[in-house]
Symmetry: D2
Subunit: 349 residues, 4 copies
């Protein structure tokens, strides 16, 4: 029986075989909990190294999932009456069920292009805010949140990051980068920022594992001195994994021999090939995405026909005649699935 | 010495002389606290009466100020994961320092016209929300908040209120009306909704005292069964006045002999006269406001000249050559101040 | 007709006649809102002066009520994961409907004597806390809260305050004094701490107005640098009074010619006389209270008989044969009411 | 080289080999996320079955860890101004960094015996609460939380559970059972409540996986109609695992062929043997624990000697001459480790 192809999202499979192997090998080892074990210590050091940071400059903390990571760290970064500036399409503004508000803070939204905020919009927002005499009655902008890749697959260039960073510094507010899909940025064939660039330009960021080869887990890098009581804050947010070593083990594996970037890079290559196939088939790409998420406009009939063999998602509501759909590759996408997709598309249904 | 004319806002003076008299007369009376006194009981009954409600249908609770009222009642109306739909210009979205978010809830903003939301925008929002499969990952619309008059002096018609109300009922969410300046709506010369209309169409609303003749205070009318533990919730929000009778006394006075509507109606009449003077002087009204707030576009030089004799406020940032300004009348505005304003404007500076 | 005597509590009457006069005189004056007026500026300066503080050392902010003051300032003082240490009988732990928890913080309770915490209990708590390896999993003690007078009428001596203060300094946590009834401490005939003592020993405290001669209002004194965005925080907590001057006016009056201390001192003198009468009548005082609240054990029949002529409150549940009751005097208590009480008690019913 | 014996806690190893096998086998399968997969559906059905519940009566939701489970569900169960009654030693009261308070609720603590609350203390608390006229100023008891086994290894009998349940029903508040170590209760050789008993007597409870054979995960059983928007609430609390199937797979395995109870039962048997050894060696058990946690009083020198070969934990601070220590067995404890412990203890150091 024919098996359906899966391009719905990048968290459909378990974990990369090498990650699984690490978990299996160490399964019966007995270690202390809460991340105080030596596997986790090792993972922390490797991550600091690839980021070009010392343990005096930053600390590495592991979380289980992205919403949890965002909610905890943003709560830690914001003071009373402060909000977080983010694109109106940002995950924290749309798809986290109000996790930021649960901790008492407002998301202050800016318009987006390909999911990115623009330095000039940010500057304008901050200038206008403090130009308004009534600002003490308003939510004070306390940090900036960006996603990289964005929800639309977009990437910031180093120059764009620098421009945002400069504004943040001028206003004394931290810059936070949500890297839930960071592997697909690092593995992109563009001149995207490296981990060292990101570490140099962002105050806090996280390296996504869940979507990038781990069974689960995110590695947060936090500049020292920015968040008091960080471990307690994680505990309070229900974000401390009892068997913390499971996270350390996975990230140690992902950051050994450049595995993280390699497996995500392959997924991006497949996504670019998928895009050529789709565009050639007459389905225009609606966003210029250099990463593993690709968005196309398709006639509804073509969508319906394709959906019998291939899994993918609507992006927004179904239109009257055409709709936008999203295809996602991942570290787990078999290369032959792209050829199969091409065959399916080229075959008259 | 010439005294400056004051049109900055409607809470610059103390309270109406009759309100003050009531406070003075009863000053040394000793009553129980927290609103369990007979003055407050009387005020509750009068307000229910003018609203056409029985004590079985609704309860009346008194607050000290508007932000407190909004924060407490909206917290009480929203369940977990629910947000409040409001115009993007709504007071709760802009000028309450994130009080809604402090209690864990998001403000879901809609575009506005003269500060009003449109029924069709509301309907579209709700339709799209539930049409999106990912809605359980999003903040659930749990109520609708409107201001009346709006921040721009606008008024909902009965038909507009009904249309919004119908949508709320279809989705099973309460409609809340912030009447911080409600007196200036009731006193407007338009066919604005009456208190009975509002009571029939809204689940919760408050009758503003602070800006409408009271020294301070707002009277909230809450349909029974909508908010559990309402008194405790007020206490928890720091919104219970120890000497609750001060609020009861003021509202009893304001709702005796129609005082509330009369004194605010006079302010609206003065505002309309002020508007004619300004428009005649060549300063166009930027919003068609039937209430006590008026907004004009003026050349910056004219602003600077006028500001030497008259108090008013910028509405938004000062422009390059022209700016928008706001003039506000109140129950305390002396009628002659309008004539004086006309004189000042007609006198070449 | 005989009028009932009132000893239920100290917020049953309006305000001291001089306070009322100040409000009446200025009623129609038009000033800017939110405490930026000159009356408030004057009150701030007077309070700093009587506290022996400069505007560089501390800021004075006015609130409407005590729960609001506590909730706002404690939220401002505590960081993430931090709790407030307080006596288990503390108002914030018992009678504020969970206002502290609403802002995300735990009350860490210590045993009390006459409502006071003991320096040695505090020290022990902190020592044990940090001696426990699991403390990062626990709520971190972030400040100390005391009431003065306490809920039982007790007073801290200067030495007791100093001992608590020393421990706070050693652990780097602020000391907060809730002075809802502070006038009755300052007016006590004991060697209680002066306002200057309190200002020197506490980081944050408030001078209660509601129970001490004002119509309403509390004046908070906050050491500079301790609470960021204090005004915005007040706004967010619904604790900014639009007509802020009403608070400034009242406190300016109360702190002119030592009115505050004088009127409360008289109430304390009456309370001490009341106590002698009660004790002489065979109703033992259950707490040694040097202030305006007095607690007695009485046979239930005596309570029932007295309650026909005199208002007072049970303190805790009614016992099988005897119960504890509370009598409170205030600035508004007429001296003759004590004589009348004596007469009633000495008359066989 | 001699290997240290581990009795520190029950979450030191990975997961039971059969659980690991299930994860390994399905690793490359691609499924939808957020628990909508068929593995999770299967696990839900099995758990309902062993609990004697139908899908109409209750829903099963999976979480990653215990603090997260408690924080989310308790937030969902409590209304505004409500608190959760719990033993003063309860995990939520002591070791979750204030996670309950973070969501705005107070923990109302009762005294404990072996970590258990007593029905009579609960009844007294509730009776006194509503007997106090000022209760609307206090945090309203909104639910009861118990742990089973408790933090001290104690177990409720069916009768004890019933007595607590009856009181809850009388007051209309739900009963919540935290079963982080539930396997060790079900596997105890006493006449402990069965899963069906618990399901019949508690409104919400969770079956702990992390400490009982899973790699991570907790299965919550929630009576229908008690928590609105449960999935969204989990998302808001950062408690939804993207690859939800990982949880389903583990619990499906643990509840196949009674694995859960069997492996935990073995750990309890080893704990009882360990206890005999310790008591025979002259170290008295300080709590009568029928489960996998055992507590002993030991001379400090004996502790120091033993600690060179065996891992265990202090329970409270180290005393002057003697201290209390905790030994914990788990599903992963090799039976021979008990013999080895006996040998070490009987060998003069």
């Amino acid at each position: 029986m024919e098996q359906k192809l899966h391009f719905e999202t990048d968290y459909m499979a378990g974990c990369h075989p090498l990650v699984l192997e690490a978990l299996v090998k160490t399964n019966m080892a007995e270690t202390v909990g809460y991340g105080d074990d030596h596997y986790t210590a090792g993972a922390r050091q490797i991550i600091l190294d690839v980021c070009g940071l010392t343990a005096e400059e930053a600390e590495v903390q592991f979380f289980v999932g992205g919403t949890q990571t965002n909610a905890t760290l943003i709560d830690g970064l914001l003071g009373n009456c402060e909000g977080v500036i983010a694109a109106d399409s940002a995950h924290i503004n749309v798809h986290e069920s109000g996790a930021i508000e649960l901790s008492g803070h407002k998301v202050l939204s800016l318009p987006q292009k390909a999911g990115k905020i623009q330095a000039k919009d940010l500057e304008e927002y901050l200038t206008h805010f403090y130009a308004d005499d009534t600002w003490p009655h308003m939510v004070i902008p306390g940090m900036v949140y960006i996603t990289h890749p964005t929800e639309y697959g977009g990437l910031y260039s180093v120059d764009e990051l620098k421009a945002i960073r400069d504004i943040c510094q001028r206003y004394g507010i931290p810059l936070y980068l949500d890297g839930a899909r960071l592997g697909y940025a690092l593995g992109a064939s563009t001149t995207a920022p490296t981990l060292k660039d990101i570490a140099a330009l962002c105050d806090v960021f996280y390296i996504g594992g869940t979507k990038c080869g781990a069974m689960f887990g995110e590695a947060a890098v936090v500049r020292r001195g920015l968040i008091r009581h960080l471990f307690s804050l994680m505990k309070q947010h229900g974000a401390v994994l009892a068997k913390g070593r499971l996270l350390g083990l996975q990230f140690r594996t992902l950051f050994t021999d450049n595995l993280y970037e390699r497996i995500c890079g392959q997924a991006v290559a497949l996504a670019q090939e998928l895009r050529r196939i789709m565009v050639d088939a007459g389905f225009p790409a609606v966003i210029d995405s250099p990463t593993n998420q690709q968005f196309f406009e398709m006639p509804n009939e073509a969508i319906d026909a394709l959906a019998q063999h291939v899994g993918f998602e609507y992006w927004g509501p179904r239109g009257a005649t055409h709709s936008t759909v999203r295809f996602v590759t991942s570290w787990a996408t078999p290369p032959q699935s792209i050829t199969q997709l091409a065959n399916i598309i080229s075959t008259p249904s």
